[in-house]
Amino acid sequence: MKKNMPKPVEGRHIQRIYKTLLRIRMVEERIAEIYPEQQMRCPVHLSIGQEGIAAGVCEALEMKDTVMSGHRAHAHYLAKGGDLKKMIAEIYGRETGCCLGRGGSMHLIDLQANFRGSTPIVGGTIPIAVGLAWAAKMKNEKQVSVIFLGEGTTEEGVFHESLNFAELHKLRVLFICEDNLYSVYTPLDERQPERSRTGIAKANGLYVDSGDGNKALEVYAKTQKALDYIRSDKGPAFLEFSTYRWREHCGPNYDNAIGYRTEEEFEMWKKKDPLVQLEKIGKFTEQYKTSLRSKLDTEISEAFEFAKQSSYPKKSDINPNLAYAS
């Protein structure tokens, strides 16, 4: 056995990760399919192709651990156990949505599931997630605060300020960086020099690791190791996983044709589909897969139905007093 090789992942975890991954995939594909109806009237950033990371990381978490995210948050919300109906209703702008329709796809929250919020200002939730861990420390609580971010987000100063502060006080923060090579349509070489982001986190004293984000079990195993470190109060950790976004930065379509990346690059990554890879490892029966898909299909249809049947928020929600808690 190779040195440092992680112990094999147990079957029940594989199955759960698979379920999560497939569910995210099917939800987002449904969104993509129905988006042209123009009833989801807000920007949507799909994570199709990247779901292995959300699924792998969240499988390693406990219920009490918290998750926050940014603009591309559907997968993180769902993997952490966020309510599907409320998410779809939110994207439809309905009063039954997780933000009562005030947020749209870019603002997800499910306090029951300890998904503590996602917002679309790049980097904006990073220090907030660090603050959750800081408060936990002050209150002597033990949950870990996980923050998902893109590789582009590491260009924001607030990311670096957050690394410093999290390490300074050895906070229970897990930074998960999804490197999908692009920020919108801009490739890395117009934004960052040859540098490794793990190197930067390491220079700040954090535990670091990196891996293949399209291998959900690798993600799971590496997250577990990082969580062990964090839970022993040695300090925060930063993990980076490489992956690829299949569809356009924002919206339901494929966009390889517009010229910022090549069809070959896309095809190369598509071959590494995290879902297909996991199916191979899981050796699930055709019957299992079919029945799971059909169950999920029903659940998803119901969620869309729920959203479409829900009312829009009332005019009375446009009331300046609602800007303040009382």
Partner: protein, 359 residues
Amino acid sequence: MPRKRIINGAAAIREAIDQSMKKDSSVFIVGEGVPDPKGVFGTTLGLRKKYTKNRVWDMPLSENAMTGTVIGAAISGMKPILVHQRLDFALLSLDQIINNAAKWFYMFGGQQSVPLVIRMIIGHGWGQGAQHSQNLQALFAHIPGLKVVMPSQPSDAKGLLIASIQDPNPVIFLEHRWIHNATGDVPKKLYATPLGKANITKKGSDITIISSSYMALEALRAAQLLESLNISAEVVDLRTISPLDEATIIRSIKKTGRLLVVDSAWTNGGIAGEIITRVVTKHMSLLKTMPARIGLPNLPTPSSPGLTKYYYPNIETIMRSVCDVLKKDSSPIKKILAEDPSLAAVSHDVPNASYMGPF
């Protein structure tokens, strides 16, 4: 009469940049996505090919540092144009804008000016929500040392952007997303529309409607429709909200004796209050009735179309306010609007019927 050349605001802005870069080699442009295939809503398309990488830059997601770097370039004799696809992102750079760009010239004894244009897209529509649609012109207009430009017509978008690039001071150039889609006649040559001069887009005698950017287009439409109620409204398109063209404002009010200010921002502490205050602290007696203002309710922007419908002022709101100021019956407005074919089909949260989302 020369043939008209009808183009939209985005094309007009692109042309302003193109012609400025052609004329002056010290002009360069930088921003997230500037050279990408979408070219910032089409406003920067093709520029990199034409002017090379050395003048057309993408950038890291580092709004504050990048603002500092363009200040550094500006005091080195360059004329940078920095672009933010949403004003909201520029909030990360207010330190550099307010503490440095705005003050550099005065605080260092007038030795170095900062000829810098920061384009920021503002606006509304398509569920952008609380963090992707803010209209914070009041914030910039409060800071001495900054100029703040808010064009409405495509021809102004071009002329004012050229003037902003030529101006030796930092200029915040605010583009409402929907003026990118507005069309109009735009001269082909390079020309500068002077900053600080308002434009009367419609003459009238009963009331002065002061506005800027997209709301100036709405105000103009409203004023035109009000003719059928025998209301003659004068529409002042500010073009620049800092400095304000007080002279034109006062001249118009002298004529009409009534004032409505229409802004795209939160009412509380907005630029509309500043305009009204300038009038009443110096010329209150000109006013025959109380002045009024329209803006957004003081509330973060919701995403749902079910809510934005009630959140944004529009032609109808403006028409009603005018009737209020004039103490005229506003009940015919519904019918006027219903009968106007140009207003039918388009949903309230898109700039035109062909818009498909999702940006």
